[in-house]
Symmetry: C2
């Protein structure tokens, strides 16, 4: 093609850098800029229709840059296409209201999901798609390549090298996609220092550094106060350990956020020990440094933990337990969401999480009417990793249960990931967790989605665990069996009450449904005394004073 220009992206990068150098003059020292010029920088560097990746996940937030972005001149900077893991801050939507941004591709919008739905229906915001994190990162290299990225790090040196600290999270994926495609990387940092503890992102990959007036926000999302764990949750945790972890010999796993899984973590060194399971299960983890895991770590249950991000207050504990956590020679943790999601998908035997609704096919969703929420990492962790080829007892047993008696392609032996949904039959406000039809269907119509926003598909769910029992969907051979297995653990919800009693008893005889008594679990034993820690203070004590909970979790 005579005359076609093939380096527009690199030329644009240089033009943007030059324009910034001119506009900022002496305020720019190398790559470092005083924070009061940030809006000027963005006004200069951004162009209409740019794809802009704004860092922020469920923990750290490039909040100073998010606030600066709201202040750019919409006459100059508009129609931005925002790419972000999580919509968390009000500013993340303000940019749409103010006509600065138009289109959005994202993974999770929990705190902003209702406002997001309103902006979509008013036409101020177009949703490209909802993704799981690793999927969104993948698209950064394929068809959603960022032009500009706004990221957060802990500190920078004068050259622009970055230290992310323990919350590395999404930064490496975002920066790599941007820096190597002619993009501009702008980092907010808490501190400028002479020498970094270590370099997490080389200065070559960074265009500008701004020291923000305040440290970037981090949410202690994975902290659960053991005092709030109920005895029903203790009972369910006992069932998880004895009814799933033990028989499948689950060695590598991920726990989602919540009190249900916190209860399991706190039962390992007590109930798990009693069952003689130490060393037999739960040695390798893909999860953030959950404080509730401290007693199990101290009791020697845990061999390794790789993390998506860190957790506030766990810094000194992690530093003192570097055999367990991934840490640098400097002693602080290195997290990495992309690698941890890949590991969660491919190297873990089990994912256990919770949901708001489950239907009769086992499809589950946290989507509710009037909210566009997304699912973060759950679709990736909670789907069968069909590319997996290495064997483990858990994976082989699940695969065998799923395929016994099947012929053809579906009967060809392969392993399967354990995907467990752990829910009480009623959630808060007495809303049933089991429903005939997911709200997701109506939401899809409302928001004109191509498919209902299902978090985990029934095809991928292997077990549903409630206070009434465990339904092993791997053993169901027909849609009807699956439906009755689900009804059979759905308690007093309408779905549960409409069960076919004879069929449910038959499923119980076959071990498809297991009640606590079938597992030899005495519900009277399910008391809070079984928890290895019953308060935040117990966790601090278990950590030998190394864990330092954020203020709001302290009541002493």
């Amino acid at each position: 093609m005579g005359g076609r220009i093939w380096n527009t992206r690199e030329t644009q990068r240089l033009q943007r850098l030059n324009k910034a150098a001119q506009a900022l003059g002496n305020d720019l020292t190398g790559k470092v800029l005083p924070h009061h010029r940030t809006v000027d920088l963005l006004n200069t560097v951004l162009q209409p229709f740019d794809r802009v990746c704004l860092e922020g996940n469920n923990q750290k937030q490039a909040d100073f840059l998010a606030k600066a972005l709201v202040q750019v001149n919409p006459a100059r900077v508009n129609n931005l296409h925002m790419l972000q893991s999580v919509l968390a801050l009000p500013q993340h939507l303000d940019v749409f209201e103010q006509g600065i941004a138009k289109r959005l591709d994202f993974s999770f919008s929990g705190p902003q999901s209702a406002r997001l739905a309103k902006l979509v229906s008013s036409g101020q915001l177009e949703v490209g798609a909802i993704h799981t994190y690793l999927e969104l990162f993948g698209r950064y290299f394929i068809d959603l390549i960022p032009n500009v990225s706004l990221i957060a790090a802990h500190s920078a040196d004068a050259q622009g090298n970055l230290y992310t600290g323990p919350n590395t999270e999404d930064t490496p994926a975002i920066v790599e996609a941007t820096a190597f495609s002619g993009g501009i990387v702008i980092a907010q940092v808490n501190e400028l220092v002479d020498t970094l503890p270590r370099i997490d992102v080389p200065a070559d990959w960074v265009s500008f550094v701004v020291k923000a007036p305040k440290h970037h926000f981090i949410e202690p999302l994975f902290t659960r106060d053991p005092a709030q764990i109920s005895e029903i949750q203790v009972l369910m945790a006992m069932m998880a350990i004895k009814g799933i972890y033990a028989p499948y010999q689950v060695q590598s796993l991920n726990h989602g956020i919540g009190f249900d899984t916190a209860a399991i973590e706190l039962l390992l060194p007590t109930y798990g020990e009693e069952l003689g399971l130490k060393g037999q299960i739960c040695q390798h983890w893909a999860l953030n440094p959950h404080p509730a895991l401290i007693p199990a770590i101290e009791a020697g249950w845990v061999k390794s933990i790789h993390s998506f991000g860190s957790e506030l207050g766990m810094e000194n504990y992690i530093r003192a337990r570097s055999d367990i956590f991934f840490t640098g020679p400097d002693g602080s943790m290195r997290s990495n969401r992309a690698f941890c999601q890949a590991a969660g998908h491919y190297a873990c035997d089990l994912f256990i999480g919770s949901t708001l609704q489950i239907d009769l096919n086992g499809n589950s969703s946290t989507a509710t009417l009037g909210r566009i929420a997304g699912f973060g990492g759950a679709p990736n962790m909670g789907s069968d990793a069909r590319g997996r080829r290495h064997c483990s007892p858990a994976w082989l047993k699940a695969g065998e249960q799923a395929r016994t008696g099947l012929g053809g392609a579906r009967g060809t032996p392969r392993g399967q990931k354990l995907v467990v949904q752990m829910v009480e039959t009623f959630r808060e406000h007495m809303q049933p967790a089991f429903v005939e039809t997911l709200d997701a269907w109506q939401l899809a119509e409302q928001a004109k989605m191509e498919l209902p926003p299902i978090m985990i598909y029934g095809e991928d769910v292997t077990h549903i665990l409630t206070e009434e029992g465990i339904a092993n969907l791997l053993l169901c051979r027909t849609d009807e069996e699956r439906e009755q297995a689900i009804r059979g653990v759905a308690g007093y919800t309408p779905v549960g009450l409409a069960r076919d009693h004879r069929m449910v008893e038959n499923l119980r005889d076959r071990g498809v449904i297991q009640r606590p008594s079938d597992l030899g679990i005495d519900p009277r034993q399910a008391t809070r005394n079984l928890l290895a820690a019953r308060s935040m203070r117990d966790l601090v004590r278990a950590s030998d004073g190394l864990y330092s909970p954020p203020q709001r979790f302290r009541n002493w």
Copy 2:
């Protein structure tokens, strides 16, 4: 646990570094060591039973370090557990014969697969498992954490910062897992320089650097001489474009290695143009810089390419086409196997590859008797990405075809990845590609594997394309239909000859099987004249002289 020590990994790291400093004395300048001391370094740093990650994929090889490893003292260094993407060099197995290494976890062993099988049966080598690349990387963070990594980069500076050059490949995954778990990272480099073109790996993450006497080996694995493309391959490529890419509107995709897919690449600017498909298909790619893609790039078909690794001879072309390829500000490419595999899994509509054997369920494998080969990236790219949530026309259409008429969990609407197996009915030496039973079954018994080594499962395959036609397995509703659809494109192989003619014709009427004539393709048009380049020289010309093929591909 009173008295438990929690920093053994970090302590060991420091001990290893100290021992090395003592043993190497003045030969060690910072982190840089003269190459003649490499064996001494390994003898000092390695300990029995260490997990050692030796870098090498299908392209670049840490070959100098591999040769040094064979020379360590087995009385001192033994029982190593080797972790590697690819077994490619003789030294990769010599370490087992010499009692230095004992256990192996890997992904692909093409060139060494027969010798590997022998070492396994003689008991000199224990295979942990075969993985797909991203799965192996995932385990580096979970239960296969390396103690020592031996890696390859292009150059280093005096501090130990590394420039990997265009062949970054597996390096970031290996180094991150090792450097942040108390491990030792040893890099061989081609050059020591004052200033690197860019930093790919920060010095903080690197323990030792050795300038190897020769540049590390790189295999031009993705170069296919268009002169060797047959007219049958042209016909099959026409069917792929008109029968699959066009109706599904495939926008993002991966092509495997081989002449079949090279033919497709070379037909885009000719046949694809004739069909008016430019801009409609094939704009975003996850693949190495295939020289056969040059004419399509030049004709404006391609918007972006992200790569696992680079390809020899393509350096200047890539540099001059930085809008298409991921390149650094220095102009050279940045590849990254982990991100490209994630993108291939989650952000691509289609994977098309080849195989040696396909059975009646659509299961395929390249495993053959007496060889333990592994499958590299194919299981990851060639499996349905069940965590994917973003929609594209291709993904939605495939999902709809697969689910129409199904009830229950299997009938819940979701998209599906297109996974195409493209094979001639007979491969070399007139071996049929279609078989009643895969060799994989017998191999599993021979090598005592838990499961037969299947590369791509029939459950995940959507289309089989041969010179006889396309079988769309998405449209098959029973095992019997699937079997006949496969027989119906299996030509004159015994499997093909045993077809039920009436059922095959019925499948053809329903569009499950499509012959060239059903697609409006005239086989007489399928000549080599349709190829946009018919020789290596044509490719060089198409690149405006920027592509510089390796010597062995030049016959002028």
